[in-house]
Symmetry: C2
């Protein structure tokens, strides 16, 4: 059952649990804010729901709290940093902040980070940039969870990529490169629903939308999650992994898999562009408003059915700010017991 929790109470619980692990100060504050905000924006899977797992990776020693990232090399407006396997959301926040500093100096800036850990929700860092007037492109690699197009064994991470533009609300695309997460498929299977579009390769070797069959393929060891856009997402996941590994001189997906059982030691890229310097914010807002309106008028009937990227999260944020952040009751009990 979903209950409604005040944002401050979520942040308080996160800080309490982290303090017991000797994480305090700014690092704890960043984690608390990000976990609460992800749930606030309706991305519960990467908010409170994820927190017990996040704490587990600290307790297992996979993630190292209280370290700060280190600059490894600088090439002008692009720098290479080491995340020291520190707290993923803290490191990613630092990296995007540094990319923004470089962009403020050079118009465009980039941080390629190695040896970092799961950043929770990629959109967090797109919003971080957008809310300060920067456009952003960032992505991460991840342990392999899906085969390449035409393949059968997991070779590609779902390597989420984020695009953001400043605005009210910010324009935000945050897309993993598997068409569906495991969670969404399981949800549909439990509800007896078909997926709206194919989500994995079925037993007959063809794309299927049958969520129950997909869960059966997992049990039978024949689980083949489909990339976003099939061959296109497959190619994109490969090149994003290669770019992240090469630019950061860090681990590629396949090496992460060999080394650990979690998304630890992964590679990330953060690009920021000082768009506020390139177009007056008022003009930028007008242009984005026009584009959003035009998109929404692209529906024959109820225009509410077409949303511009970032609109859904904004809507959830407003609703949840008023009514409380939605948290699964069992999850909340687990958090309180941590």
């Amino acid at each position: 059952m979903t209950i409604r929790i005040r944002r401050e109470d979520i942040e308080g619980q996160v800080r309490r649990v982290l303090a017991a692990r000797r994480v305090g100060g700014e690092q704890a504050a960043i984690c608390a804010r990000i976990i609460a905000e992800n749930s606030l924006d309706g991305v519960t899977s990467h908010g409170v729901t994820r927190f017990p797992h996040f704490v587990g990776t600290i307790d297992q020693g996979l993630i190292v709290p209280n370290v700060e990232p280190e600059q490894v090399a600088a090439f002008g407006a692009i720098e290479r940093w080491d995340g020291k396997r520190g707290l993923g959301p803290v490191m990613a926040t630092r990296f995007m902040a540094r990319a923004m500093e470089l962009a403020a100096e050079n118009g465009i800036g980039c941080v390629a980070a190695r040896n970092t850990t799961h950043w929770l929700r990629g959109g967090t860092y797109g919003l971080q940039a957008a809310r300060s007037g920067f456009a952003a492109i960032c992505w991460t690699n991840a342990r392999p969870g899906m085969p390449a197009w035409g393949g059968t064994k997991p070779r590609l991470g779902n390597n989420p990529i984020v695009f953001a533009l400043p605005g009210e609300p910010p324009i935000l695309v945050d897309m993993a490169l598997s068409q569906f997460s495991y969670g969404k498929i399981q949800e549909a299977a439990l509800a007896g629903r078909q997926l709206p579009v194919p989500g994995a390769i079925g037993f007959d070797g063809k794309p299927t939308s049958d969520a129950k069959e997909i869960i059966e393929t997992l049990k039978a060891g024949a689980y083949r999650l489909l990339p976003t856009g099939y061959w296109k997402g497959s190619a994109l996941a490969f090149v994003l992994d290669a770019m992240a590994a090469v630019l950061s001189d860090g681990l590629a997906s396949r090496e992460v898999e060999t080394e650990t059982t979690a998304d630890v030691g992964i590679s990330q890229v953060f690009i920021a562009i000082d768009v506020a310097r390139m177009l007056p914010p008022r003009e930028l807002q007008d242009r984005l408003d026009e584009l959003a309106a035009h998109l929404k008028q692209g529906h024959a009937g109820d225009a509410e059915d077409v949303r511009f990227p970032g609109e859904g999260a904004e809507r959830q944020r407003r609703y949840n700010l008023e009514h409380g952040v939605p948290v699964d009751e069992t999850v909340w009990q687990a958090v309180q017991a941590l």
Copy 2:
């Protein structure tokens, strides 16, 4: 019927036809090389097959030959340029070259270009960067040809995006944001084949793989091409359009549509990263070889079924260099008659 033409003969024809339109020198040489190379790489739709249409847009005065691009504004490592509605492939070549110069100075460089025209094949500019040791991300907007997810009227361009990394062969992802081009759907309909995955919304309002039905929806005015990855490609097409328009201070897809009947006046973004400075080329090659081998070993049976991005084009290039560039006989007659 497909015939085989020597690359030099294609370049010669392109130069002859352009010379008759008073386009010579470097501009003609760039067009000739790009058109021949696109067909050489097996991307015939954006090579020789496209040339008669390309010449048509010059003859109609939509594209202005012999102009050179102009720098409009500079913000450090990112610059805004005006393409003056010149020859798309020439302008895009100049823009990527400038992004590479900026990257050579600053580690990363970006050109945002407005008022430019159809660049033919996006992969051309990814390869241009990769072959000189730069990683690249570039994209273009285009006239709206597909509805947003949930919409019914065309609102989004297929806004191709390119990712490239230097290597032998270069890693190259060149993806339009419609899952299929109109040409591919028509090809399947004519051959009586189903598409391998859904390509458009069918008459019942759901995604369909029935190529014939999709062509029927076009005739009935209910044509709804599906974005790559459904809602994901829809969001991505929107943000790429917005970013290109905002960074270049140029036209967004919807404004291009209002102004002209072709992809003229469009906006493009070119990002280059001096990766050769960040990792020794030998080390880069080793890493990419490992990644490609790992990907290919992801198939239970014949590993040839899994290709890394860029491998297909490389294979076609080698074959066609030996056997001649494949050109449709009717197209070749049309080119000779221009």
